[in-house]
Amino acid sequence: MKIDKNQLLRFTTAGSVDDGKSTLIGRLLYDSKSIFEDQIAAVENSSKQKGIEGVDLAMFTDGLKDEREQGITIDVAYRYFTTPKRKFIIADTPGHIQYTRNMVTGASTANAAVILIDARHGVIEQTKRHTFISSLLNIPHIIVCVNKMDLMDYDEKVFNDIVNQFEEFSSKLLIKDVRYIPISALEGDNVVNRSEKMGWFQGSPLLHELETLHISSDINKIDARFPVQTVIRPQRKGFEDYRGYAGRISSGIYRVGDEVTVLPTGFTSKIKSINAGDQEIEEAFAPMSVAITLEDDIDISRGDMIVKKNNQPEMSQEFDVMLCWLNNSPVKPRTKYTIMHTSNEQKALIKEVVYKMNVNTFKRDSEDQDLKMNDIARVKIKTSHRLMLDAYRDNRNTGSIILVDDSTKETVAAGMIV
């Protein structure tokens, strides 16, 4: 395998047990030969105990004891497979209504979402919810798989009707790139191999789409943002004056000699050197982890952001966020939370719930102010100090926040800056 050019694609799969999601993932892993013989033997064994002939593909993705007993996926599970063209990470998330939080989690880092629709049922409430969340989380590519075509005689009209249903409701959402594929995960049609039974379909099988999606542009390379994680100060001979600002570039490109501004202080300087590991390099881009040194001795610490002089984020203490509540205990009014944004941490208050979003109907409800687990709402947030903000639409890394409840230390909410 040529490894020097192969990229990494992260995708999320949305659907419930009944849509055949686990079977689809099992099929991708099985047909791309990513499952080992001892795993196959173990699944054959369990399949037999359950009275199932042959290999139950869905069982490859069942992880924890409780799930295997209940036959449902209760948390985000990560799966890996590699083809000669790409490495893939699947964030496998459950589709039930109570698991919106898991979908949001899986979607947060995904390049693509695979949305499954059962050909027998067409677009249902759950399809709308999944599509809404994919759009809200700004997943760059959406692939709609109409599954179980084998149960509908591989009928082209069934597929076209579902595509029309999807187009109709999704036109209200912000989606950049969507494609449709008729498949049968169980029979293997159009998953890895082209289906012989659906000659009428002109597009590519799912795996081919995943292998060729253009993902190099998924990360913003225009607005340079570098949140400082930590400062490297080697206490050793020869490096007494070295002060390296370590971090992972959120977006954009940095070059030695660039004029930069450090926020929130506003001091300006020039980039003196860029280190990637023990290599000195001339330029670096997102999502590289590097250490940057500056020409001038400025006081910089974790939470600060190094940006270009002529392209700066907004600095604000009050802003609107689309918030997804992730915790069992609901929002407590007037409570101070810790807000985490890039490497920065401040105190924050939810000042107002502007409206709650009904993720099934896309209707806004401005009466109901209670935020509970799995609710999505537009809220106004106030922080103790200014944050360096971008809109989530423009920048997933500098446009996202989480809230931590100081009394439990748990992550209770995830937010996208509007």
């Binding site: 192969n6 990229q7 990560y78 490297i232 890394n397 992550t411």
Partner: protein, 301 residues
């Protein structure tokens, strides 16, 4: 003209370095759990890159079962010297001598499960608030749902049903007194990725991973190495085979595979055509279908 994207190994490296720096920034006293296996060696090398030109800011913590391959201990000591890091050793033998744990009995007895107590004791006495491990999600089904920052309660236990959601690059490492975290910077790497990276970066690994002649005995479909701890059973016979190890655990439970792969390049070639998981030769995982999950809940690596 340059192309502005990373290949998958570069992206995995960048992610791991990000996580290691996050550990350093968020915790007071983090250590790297060092087993002498290829994954913990990789993590140590990534830590070197993350803080260059400074020294690795983490101590290495080794849970010593006393049933090691001698090569592993030699390798560990050489690495500690080369990087100038501090070494903390938690000894299972001491835990046994102090009566904290009891040695397993019977023909399949191992010290694998006993490590949990020694590890948790070492974490507590050294006031470690984050133990960095080389665990990967592709290794075992219970690990597929592990977080980068994995919270442990004051009993060191993992609650798989109540994990903190992890979104974007925002890692929440907040804890109460007495609790701690495990951090897994190479979560997203597969066995193949690890070998490709070790080869590309020319990172030295214990010779046990390369094919060599060794005295072994056939047991449960694996070649178990001869050692002072091995008790031969009826019908078993010691033979010399050319083997190598895919994972390194205790000498008593780590089975080798027959192989001619005696260079890194040959291993990459062999692993890419391998049809069995790497832990398939670990008798500790074969005890039951949920053996790993059960041990993890109690505080295993």
């Amino acid at each position: 003209m340059s192309t502005y994207y990373l290949n998958y190994l570069e992206e995995l490296e960048s992610e791991a370095i990000f996580i290691l720096r996050e550990v350093w920034a968020q915790f007071q006293n983090p250590v790297i759990l060092f087993s002498g296996g290829k994954d913990s060696i990789l993590v140590t090398h990534l830590a070197k890159k993350a803080f260059h030109p400074a020294k690795i800011p983490f101590a290495l913590m080794h849970v010593d079962t006393g049933h090691n391959f001698p090569e592993t201990i030699q390798f560990r000591d050489d690495l500690v010297e080369k990087f100038g890091v501090r070494l903390i050793v938690g000894s299972v033998q001491e835990s046994i001598d102090q009566g904290r744990v009891a040695e397993e009995k019977g023909k399949n007895a191992t010290r694998n499960a006993l490590q949990i107590t020694t590890l948790l004791d070492a974490i507590e006495t050294n006031k470690v608030d984050c133990a960095i491990g080389g665990g990967r999600r592709d290794e075992e089904k219970a690990r597929a749902k592990e977080r980068f920052f994995s919270h442990r309660d004051e009993f060191g236990q993992w609650d798989p049903k109540n994990q903190r959601p992890e979104l974007w690059n925002l890692l929440n490492g907040k804890y109460f007194e007495g609790e701690h975290f495990r951090a897994f910077p190479i979560s997203n790497w597969t066995e193949m990725d690890v070998w490709n990276y070790l080869t590309k970066e020319k990172i030295e690994i214990p010779s046990l991973y390369l094919a060599h002649d060794r005295e072994v005995v056939r047991r449960n479909g694996s070649w178990i190495p001869n050692s002072e701890y091995l008790k031969l059973e009826e019908g078993e016979e010691i033979v010399t085979k050319k083997i190598r190890f895919r994972t390194l655990g205790d000498i008593t439970i780590t089975g080798g595979i027959e192989s001619d792969a005696d260079t890194m390049e040959k291993i990459v070639e062999e692993v890419s055509t391998m049809r069995e998981t790497e832990r398939g030769n670990r008798t500790d995982d074969k005890r039951s279908e949920t053996a790993m999950e059960d041990r993890k809940k109690e505080g295993y690596f």
